[in-house]
């Protein structure tokens, strides 16, 4: 089980590499420019859903970016939510 954190937009190599590694049982947290991958109706959010990983977005970063129209599979979390995920997942991979 891997906790992935993505801090790069969906057009980046970081996004592509992250998606190629994500698997069922993993979780992904979108932060910084990563939040744009959560936009409903985009190819990026569909790609993320197809990985079967749990999807999260940092609320503050989403609000800052005006990303309010989230794909249904993406859950909002705050900083405490991120810490909780790091408690559950034994390892984290930062993609940026």
């Amino acid at each position: 089980m891997i906790l992935h954190t993505l801090n790069a937009s969906p057009s980046s190599a970081a996004f592509t590499d992250c998606v190629s590694i994500m698997a069922k049982g993993d979780a992904l947290v979108l932060m910084g420019d990563g939040v744009y991958a959560a936009l409903a109706g985009t190819k990026a959010s569909k790609t993320l859903q197809q990985t079967d990983a749990s999807l999260y977005i940092m609320t503050a970063d989403a609000l800052a970016a005006g990303v309010t129209n989230l794909a249904a599979a993406v859950s909002r979390i705050d900083m405490e939510g991120l810490v909780t995920l790091t408690e559950t997942f034994p390892r984290q991979q930062a993609w940026y």
């Binding site: 790069a8 910084g32 900083m79 991120l82 810490v83 790091t86 984290q92 930062a94 940026y96």
Partner: protein, 130 residues
């Protein structure tokens, strides 16, 4: 649980360095221990004592300095990266004949061995980049 953080992002580009500081505060608030925060590459700029922020913006140093002051958390900056980025403590300023130190007192200049010790001693190693 014991945590260490590796911060690679510059505090002057994006939000990642600030996010890392907030994360560290939250980790502590949840009762965990932070063994060390290690700053590498452009991450070392978080120690910039002489950085002047716009009036409505918080200095990147503040969030980190609070961690050191309130919780005694060690903030270690990699010496190779720090020198390259002009981040010097008093010892390094003297050694390299620079007029004055440039890092905030909350940070310590360290070798990469401290990163190795950090991950070897911690249950979690959380990386912040970008």
């Amino acid at each position: 649980m014991i945590y260490s953080l590796l911060v690679l992002s510059s505090p002057f580009s994006g939000h990642s360095s600030r996010r890392a500081a907030q994360f560290a505060h939250c980790v502590t608030a949840r009762g965990h221990t932070i063994h060390r925060v290690f700053f590498l590459d452009a991450g070392t700029l978080a120690s910039a004592a002489n950085s002047v922020s716009a009036q409505d913006e918080e200095s990147p140093v503040t969030g980190w300095a609070e961690l050191a002051d309130q919780h005694g958390i060690e903030l270690a900056i990699c010496i190779t990266s720090a020198l390259k980025h002009g981040m010097l403590d008093q010892v390094e300023a003297d050694r390299h004949e620079r007029a004055s130190p440039t890092i905030d007192a909350a940070f310590t200049v360290s070798g990469l061995g401290q990163l190795v010790d950090a991950y070897a001693s911690s249950d979690r190693l959380i990386t912040f980049g970008g």
